[in-house]
């Protein structure tokens, strides 16, 4: 690390890393701006992909897509390196740090010792920034922590080289050439258009608004399922939504912040600031949905699956209106 690095507490790991990294290399973009420009907002319900026996529910785009979309949309030259074995991977990271670079890395949460026991699950797509090393520890700027943390060499290497779903393969990434400034307007329009179209027009019922409605249907069907499974499934939805990288509501709030910032860039564009408010509302609705589930799980009464499904469908209705609003903006700037 050559210059001083400022750690920022972020809501989401990948957008947090990219925002901090770009800022360090001279391009000042907030976390929400990075998230928005990368079109990271989404919804996917993949009942046939199982994690811990539960279907995959994602409220944002696939891991690495923020890195890749920022590279493409902002013309940032980035290098992504993966490794065939641990030794090479550790050596390369040390070399890059020696050169004074700060380096993004993909890791498994479970093997990072600075994570408290309560948060350690086998999730392989956690992003962090390695900013320095001494003779036994790396200094890490982990965006979801308030302060920088230390992690010994062996532990980070283990976390970088777990195998399985979304295996990081030691992934390291860092920019080689960062533009000093970017004309954000055209990128914003394009990125918003992409999100709105994906959410409204995906023809298959696993992604976008249709995906949300499929999940609602699956919730309704829980009535006929075994009780223990039904409860775990409901809990799983909320964990995917709230706990894993801030999830559904959190991402809607980040997106609302992105839209607010964008509205200012477009001379206080009214449609964007209205859309921003709408996404704040949608985020609140997701949290109400989560609360409803949490209460049902705690209560001794029979769970009203229909009511929970209905709530999710009404979130989908509201979210649909928000994307339609975004398309109005896109039309204006065609």
């Amino acid at each position: 690390m050559h210059k001083e690095f400022h750690h920022t507490h972020s809501a989401h790991c990948e957008s947090g890393v990219m925002s901090s990294m770009l800022r360090y290399y001279g391009l000042n973009l907030s976390e929400p701006m990075v998230f928005g420009l990368a079109s990271a907002l989404t919804f996917a319900y993949l009942p046939f992909v199982k994690m811990g026996g539960m279907p995959l529910i994602a409220y944002r785009s696939f891991p690495k897509s923020i890195i890749k979309n920022i590279r493409k949309n902002l013309n940032v030259k980035m290098k992504l390196e993966t490794f065939s074995n641990k030794e090479k991977g550790e050596k390369r990271l040390n070399e890059l740090l020696q050169e004074g670079k700060i380096v993004g890395a993909q890791t498994s949460v479970y093997w990072l010792p600075y994570f408290p026991e309560e948060m350690r699950f086998h999730f392989n797509a956690h992003n962090l920034l390695v900013i320095a090393k001494d003779d036994k520890d790396y200094t890490i700027s982990d965006p979801v922590f308030e302060e920088t943390v230390k992690c010994d060499f062996a532990a980070l290497t283990k976390a970088r080289f777990v195998k399985g779903v979304m295996a990081p393969k030691g992934l390291l990434y860092y920019p080689i050439d960062v533009p000093k400034s970017v004309d954000l307007k055209p990128v914003i329009v394009k990125a918003i258009k992409k999100v709105a179209k994906l959410m409204l027009k995906t023809p298959v019922p696993i992604a976008g608004i249709k995906g949300i409605r499929s999940l609602a249907k699956a919730i309704e069907k829980l009535e006929t399922k075994e009780k223990r499974y039904a409860k775990l499934f409901l809990g799983h939805i909320v964990r995917m939504q709230e706990e894993i990288g801030t999830g559904g509501a959190g991402f809607r709030y980040i997106y609302a912040s992105f839209l607010k910032e964008s509205s200012e860039i477009f001379d206080n564009n009214k449609i964007l600031s209205e859309a921003s408010e709408m996404f704040l509302e949608v985020g609140d609705e997701y949290r109400e949905f989560a609360l409803m589930i949490a209460k049902a799980l705690k209560s001794k009464k029979e769970i009203n699956f229909k009511a929970i499904a209905q709530k999710l469908n009404s979130v989908a209705d509201e979210e649909t209106l928000a994307y339609k609003k975004l398309l109005e903006f896109v039309k204006e700037y065609k």
Binding site: G52, Y110, P116, H122, V144, K163, G235, A290
Partner: protein, 137 residues
């Protein structure tokens, strides 16, 4: 959500950490603020942790009664399941299931044991025994 509505529920599952969440401040700007926890999230995290603990303690008893090999307990104890263990080691599920059999596991090859040990972050000799529980005395 407004900044003053951001829950500060001091959830034990945050273990004294805070999470950043974006909310609207008095001036109408949306910025990141720290949250010390949220009850709804705590409920489901605890549910998941409880489920993992239950698996581990059921496995512990099975191993103790000689129904399963120590590997079976260690897998659940590090919050894995058959799927994750198979992915982490590159072994087929059916072949791992064989290693859950105590007699079979007792005769495991050094090479195979080493792969388990590496993937699970547990020493080879520890992997072959059931650790003592505080309640065992």
């Amino acid at each position: 959500m407004d900044i003053n509505a951001v829950p500060q529920d001091d959830s034990t599952t945050y273990a004294n950490n805070k999470k950043a969440i974006y909310a609207r401040d008095e001036d109408g700007n949306i910025r990141a603020v720290s949250s010390s926890g949220w009850e709804a999230e705590e409920t489901v995290t605890k549910q998941a942790l409880h489920d993992l603990q239950e698996h581990a303690s059921e496995a512990y008893n099975d191993v103790k009664r000689g129904l399963k090999s120590p590997l079976y307990f260690h897998m659940y104890n590090i919050r894995m399941d058959l799927q994750v263990l198979a992915e982490s080691t590159g072994f087929f599920k059916w072949s791992i299931k064989k290693d859950f059999c105590p007699e079979k596991f007792a005769k495991i090859s050094q090479k195979r044991l080493a792969i388990y040990a590496d993937a699970m972050g547990i020493k080879e000799e520890d992997l072959q025994i059931l650790p003592k529980k505080d309640t065992d005395a």
